[in-house]
């Protein structure tokens, strides 16, 4: 606990109002369930990808604010728990443009089967479940 002594800003002003809906990532995005256009669970939001800035590089004044490019899922969860960072190529992305709504769940405007995020589900379906008699029938 040998953190440097902390200082507190002398004045805290009322926040300016934003025009659109305001989201806090931890509160409203991370770890929420994502449902596809038919209400089928896709995955959880394990992390969020931004358009910038480059880590540890000086941000020029009046640089445009970054925006969310994609919601991430899959192995990135492990790095959130145990630390580290996966290579960018291993991230499974759900592009922000397919996100249709943010509430207690995140709704997507596309079908689950069209997303990379559900490849394990499809693999197990085709290689295990569908091969057992009754696997494709309603219970």
């Amino acid at each position: 606990m040998s953190k440097a002594k902390r200082i507190q800003p002398s004045e805290i002003r009322p926040a300016p109002r934003a025009a659109g809906k305001v989201l806090d990532a931890q509160l409203h995005l991370l770890d929420r369930q994502m449902l596809d256009v038919d209400g089928v669970p896709v995955s959880t939001v394990d992390d969020v990808e931004l358009s910038g800035p480059e880590p540890d590089e000086r941000i020029p004044e009046s640089a445009p604010a970054p925006h969310i490019t994609a919601l991430l899922t899959g192995p990135v969860l492990g790095t959130r728990i145990f630390g580290g960072r996966p290579p960018s190529s291993r991230l499974i992305r759900i592009p922000w443009r397919v996100v249709a709504g943010v509430d207690t769940v995140i709704t997507l405007g596309v079908r689950s089967d069209s997303l990379d995020a559900s490849w394990v589900e499809r693999w197990l379906r085709n290689h295990v479940i569908a091969r057992i008699p009754g696997g494709r029938h309603d219970p």
Partner: protein, 409 residues
């Protein structure tokens, strides 16, 4: 009529969930060693499970979110994973114990060694999970499990000294034979058996499976308030039967074959047959619930599609996870470990993991973003907090007491 049928969900979780192998064994052990002097714990446990099952059912009905989705979202990935690990381990232990319980009950019925029944029990449980509709599953095991009422009938037939039973229950004291540490260890075991976390996972996920809406809340409350006290009543009858017959005879329960002795003495072969049927139904129902619960918790943490209302192909990871759990449970049994011992440990570990499950439920039940105007009332919050303190104390005390009492030896 439909509403009447709906109450069966409550009765199922009461019989198959409240009275499962854990309650059967723990209550009989306690009755045979401590008489009715731990009855108060069952009462506290019943009130607690009513409170939190009702809360988790309400969250599921209003928001459509089952308990473990809420746990992940509120506690974050790290604490959520710790909770998942603990819950999953306990679920696995409970699945193992329940399948062992089915096999032990079938051994009592047939005289054929229980090990030979394990593969049949496994196959039957898996087939039901694979093919049978949720509502049929819950109604059949629920109704057949009701035959456990034979414990209460047996208690009447035994013509016990009701006054002394009541005295033991109302002014509890540690019997001279036993140490205080052991008494409190079993208090925690009983509490854990009554409040096992898988019940709320199952209950809330079941509400989603049955597509409960806000208008079903009244029914959910009836289910809980009727079903769980019935389960608690049966638990007390089990303990009382053991207290009346086995305690005076100097028999302390360690096997399922001893649990049934009082009922056989009171009601003869017919009662015994009914009882074995009830035990098979209750452990079978609980095996289904715990297997499903382990699938629910995993799927809800990782956001997979889940539920028996989907065809297996539409919830492939969920079904694969449950197959793995069932096989793992049977692998544990194949080592020759005593299922009753697994049961006794599973209820204590349940008690240890309780706060991880119940705190997030209490918090989300207060969040208007999820609950709208159906947030907890003041009385429910006060009761919830009181229980949170009890749960926390039980959870912290469990391991020291387990060590001090040599796991109840």
């Amino acid at each position: 009529m439909k509403r009447l049928l709906g109450v069966a969900l409550g009765i199922l979780t009461a019989i198959g969930g409240f009275v499962d192998i854990g309650d059967l064994v723990t209550n009989a052990v306690v009755g045979s060693r401590f008489g009715m002097s731990l009855a108060w714990v069952v009462v506290i446990g019943v009130v607690g499970i009513c409170l939190f099952a009702n809360m988790s059912g309400r969250v599921a009905a209003v928001s459509g979110r089952a308990t473990f989705e809420v746990i992940r979202e509120r506690m974050g990935p790290r604490a959520g994973l710790a909770n998942l690990g603990a819950s999953f381990l306990i679920n696995l232990m409970t699945v193992t114990a329940e399948i062992g319980g089915i096999a032990l009950a079938l051994q009592l019925a047939s005289g054929v060694a229980y090990m030979l029944w394990v593969p049949f029990a496994l196959l039957a449980v898996w087939l039901v999970i694979w093919r049978v509709k949720f509502s049929i599953m819950e109604n059949v095991t629920g109704l057949v499990g009701l035959t456990l009422v034979v414990f209460a009938v047996a208690l009447f037939l035994l013509k016990p000294d009701w006054g002394s039973l009541a005295a033991q229950a109302l002014s509890p004291s540690v019997p001279g034979e036993e140490s205080t540490g052991t008494y409190w260890y079993y208090a925690i075991a009983l509490f854990g058996a009554a409040m096992t976390p898988y019940e709320v996972f199952f209950f809330s996920s079941g509400a989603v499976e049955e597509r409960w809406k806000v208008k079903d809340l009244v029914q959910s409350r009836i289910n809980v308030l009727l079903g769980f006290p019935l389960g608690g009543f049966l638990s007390l009858a089990i303990a009382a039967c053991a207290a009346v017959v086995l305690l005076p005879a100097g028999i302390s329960v360690t096997t399922l074959s001893q649990v049934v002795l009082p009922v056989a003495q009171a009601g003869g072969q017919l009662a015994l047959a009914v009882l074995i049927l009830g035990i098979v139904a209750a452990t079978f129902g609980a095996a289904l619930e715990t297997t499903l619960s382990s699938g629910y918790t995993l799927a809800q943490y990782f956001g997979w599609p889940w539920g028996k209302f989907r065809r297996p192909a539409a919830a492939s990871r969920f079904h694969v996870a449950m197959m793995v759990v069932l096989l793992a449970g049977v692998a544990v049994l194949a080592t020759g470990v005593d299922p009753i011992l697994v049961t006794e440990y599973s209820v204590v570990f349940s008690a240890i993991a309780l706060p991880l499950t119940y705190l997030p439920i209490l918090i989300v039940a207060n969040d208007p973003q999820y609950m709208g105007k159906h947030v907890n009332g003041r009385a429910v919050n006060v009761a919830g907090l009181v229980y949170l303190v009890i749960i926390l104390v039980a959870s912290i005390a469990a391991i020291p007491l387990m060590i001090a009492s040599g796991a109840g030896a």
